[in-house]
C-alpha cells in the first residue's frame, strides 16, 4: 500500500462472497460518522467484518495511518490486535456477565495492554445512560437497552475505529427512537470515527456526515450525505419513497404563541412546528422528494408555509414510470422534487428555470429528542 494518511480511513477489499464479486474501496476522513448504505446482500456487512479482521479478504486497510492489513506487505492484524469497536446487529451481550461485567470486558483488556484511556468508564456510562442498568442481567434488558450496553462496551475498549452493523435494524420503532439520540450524542461528543452500515435511508440522513453507496459489492457513490442524497437513485426508475435531501439549518427563533420554530438555511427562513431546540442550535432537516411541489410563479393564498425560490439545476425523467425528479438550487442547499413527467413538460422545467419549491413535509432530524444533557451537550 502506498501512502497511508494519518487523518483517513483507507482500504480496499476484494474477493468472492458467495455469488457476489466484492471489490470495495474506502477512503474517508478518520472522524465523524460515515454510513455505508445499500440494499441487503450488497456486501456491507462483509466490508465491516473485513475492517475488523473477522474476515480476511484480499486487500489492505489502514486507520489514521495505522496499517491493519496490507496483503502486499504481509500484514494482517487479527481482531484482538486491532483497536476496533464492533457493534453487531444483535447486541450479543455476554449472558454470563452483568451489564457492568460486559462494559468492563473490553475496558479491562485495553487497560492491560497499557492503552491510554481516552474514554473513562463513568463518562461512557453517562453518555449511554447506563447508570441504572449496571447491576442488571442482560437477559432482563429491553432490546434498546441491550444495544446501548453493546455500544458502551465497544466504546470502552478504546477503539480507534467504531464499526456499527445495522445496530438499529433489530429494534422496533420505539426502541429505535429511544436509542437514536444516544448515537447522535456519541457522534457529537466523541472523536472516534464510525463506519455505520445501514439500509435505512432515514437513519443515514439523520446520523451520518458522509456516506458511501454500495451496490453488488462495489461503491457506486460517496461524499457528504447532503451531496450523495440529492443524487441518490436519480438514475433509477423504481419508486423510492424515501428519496430526498438533507439541509443543515440553525434555529433562529421560536414563536410560542403559534407554536412554531423558525429555522435559518443560508439566509432563507423555514418554519416548522415548535421543536425542542434552543436558539442557535444546529439541526438537520430532511425533505423527501415526494413532499416537494414546484410552481413557476410565486403562489399566493396558500397553506404551505415554506416556499423557497430557486433555480432548476437538473431534471431526471424516470422512463418507465410517471415520475421525474427535479433538483432545485435554493441558494446554499438543494431540494429534490418528485413530480409527474406530465407536469414537468407542461411547466417546461428545464435547467436554469426559476421555480418556487413548495415544501409540505419536513422532518427535523437532529437533534430530534431534546438537547443532550451534561457534558455530552458541550459542543
Amino acid at each position: 500500500m502506498t501512502g497511508t494518511s494519518v487523518s483517513r480511513v483507507q482500504g480496499r477489499f476484494r474477493g468472492d462472497v458467495g455469488t457476489l464479486d466484492l471489490d470495495f474501496a474506502i477512503d474517508v476522513p478518520a472522524q465523524g460518522i460515515t454510513a455505508i448504505f445499500g440494499p441487503s446482500g450488497c456486501g456491507k456487512t462483509t466490508v465491516l467484518r473485513c475492517a475488523a479482521g473477522l474476515r480476511h479478504m484480499n486487500g489492505n486497510f489502514s486507520v489514521a495511518g495505522d496499517v491493519w492489513q496490507d496483503d502486499a506487505g504481509g500484514v494482517f492484524r487479527r481482531p484482538h490486535e486491532r483497536s476496533v469497536g464492533y457493534v453487531f446487529q444483535e447486541p450479543s451481550l455476554f449472558p454470563h456477565l452483568s451489564v457492568r461485567g460486559n462494559l468492563l470486558y473490553g475496558w479491562n483488556r485495553s487497560v492491560r495492554k497499557g492503552q491510554r484511556a481516552t474514554l473513562e468508564f463513568e463518562d461512557v456510562v453517562d453518555l449511554m445512560g447506563l447508570n441504572t442498568l449496571l447491576q442488571r442481567d442482560p437477559a432482563n434488558l429491553s432490546g434498546g437497552e441491550r444495544q446501548r450496553v453493546a455500544v458502551g462496551r465497544a466504546l470502552l475498549a478504546q477503539p480507534e475505529l467504531l464499526l456499527m452493523d445495522e445496530p438499529l435494524a433489530g429494534l422496533d420503532a420505539r426502541a429505535k427512537e429511544e436509542i437514536l439520540p444516544y448515537v447522535e450524542m456519541l457522534h457529537r461528543s466523541l472523536s472516534v470515527p464510525v463506519l455505520y452500515v445501514s439500509h435505512d435511508l432515514r437513519e443515514v440522513a439523520r446520523l451520518a456526515d458522509s456516506m458511501i453507496v454500495m451496490e453488488d459489492g462495489r461503491s457506486v457513490g460517496h461524499g457528504p450525505v447532503a451531496e450523495v442524497l440529492e443524487r441518490l437513485g436519480l438514475d433509477r426508475s423504481e419508486d423510492d419513497s424515501e428519496a430526498g435531501v438533507v439541509l443543515d439549518v440553525t434555529v433562529a427563533s421560536h414563536d410560542d404563541e403559534l407554536h412554531l420554530t423558525r429555522l435559518d438555511h443560508h439566509g432563507k427562513q423555514i418554519v416548522v412546528p415548535r421543536a425542542a431546540l434552543q436558539v442557535g442550535d444546529v439541526a438537520r432537516l430532511r425533505v423527501r422528494a415526494r413532499d416537494v411541489a414546484l410552481a413557476t410563479k410565486k403562489p399566493a393564498l396558500l397553506s404551505f408555509r415554506n416556499v423557497l425560490r430557486g433555480r432548476v439545476v437538473e431534471t431526471v425523467e424516470h422512463r418507465r414510470s410517471a415520475f421525474a425528479d427535479v433538483l432545485v438550487d435554493v441558494g446554499g442547499g438543494r431540494l429534490r422534487a418528485r413530480i409527474t413527467r406530465d407536469a414537468m413538460n407542461e411547466l417546461d422545467l428545464g435547467r436554469g428555470r426559476l421555480v418556487y419549491a413548495l415544501v409540505k413535509g419536513i422532518s427535523l432530524d437532529r437533534p430530534a429528542v431534546g438537547r443532550p444533557s451534561g457534558r455530552a451537550g458541550a459542543t
Binding site: P79, H80, E90, S92, Y105, R109, A139
Partner: protein, 229 residues
Amino acid sequence: MTSVADAASLWSAIWLTLELAACSTAILLLVGTPLGWWLCRTRVWWKEVAASIVALPLVMPPTVLGFYLLLFLGRDGPGGWFAGLAGARTLAFSFEGIVLGSVIYSLPFVVQPIRNAFEAMGDRPLEVAATLGARPWDSFWSVAVPLARPGLVTATVLGFAHTIGEFGVVLMIGGNIPGETKVLSIAVYELVETLQWRQAHWLSGGMLAFSFAVILSMLLLQKRTGRRA
C-alpha cells in the same frame, strides 16, 4: 449374617469405585474439553472420523473394548513397556489400568455434551470477545467455558456416573482384585455368583438410588440453567 470382613470388603469396593470415578472424571474433563472444543472448531476433513473413533465405545461391546485394552496394556503391549518404566510388569489388572479403560469407555459421554455446548454457543461470542481485545486463549476461558457451563456440568455428571456403572471393561482388564480393581459392579456380580442375595440387594438397591439421584439432579440442573440462558 454380614461379617466384619464382608463389610470391610464392601466399603473397600465402594471407596475404590468412587476413587476410580473421581480420577476418571478429572482426566475425562482434561481430555474431553479440548477434544470437544477441537471437534467444534476444526475444519479438517477427517473431523467426523475422529468424532466416530471417540464415539466407538457407545456401540462396541465393553468386552471387545476390554479385550483390545488388555492387549494394549499387557506385558507385550505399549502399556507393558510403560509399566516397565515404573518397575511393574503390566498395566493390566491395576488401578491405573482400569482408570485408562474407564476414560476411554466414558469419553463419548463427556465429549458429546461439551462439543454440543460449544457448537450451540456459535461464533458470535468469540467474535465479540476478539473485537474487545481478548486473545484466543483469554476468550476461551472468559467466554467459551462459562457459556458452555451447562454442557460441562452434564459431561461431569455423565462421566462420573457412567464410570461408576461400568462393568465389562473393568472385568476384562482389571479382574477382581480387592482394593485394586474390585469395584461395585464387580462386587455385585460376585455376590450374585456366590448366592449372597442379601448383600447383592443392598448394593444393587444403593446403586439404583444413586443412579436415579444423579439423573434427576442433572435434569433439574439443566432446567435451571436452561431457564437462565
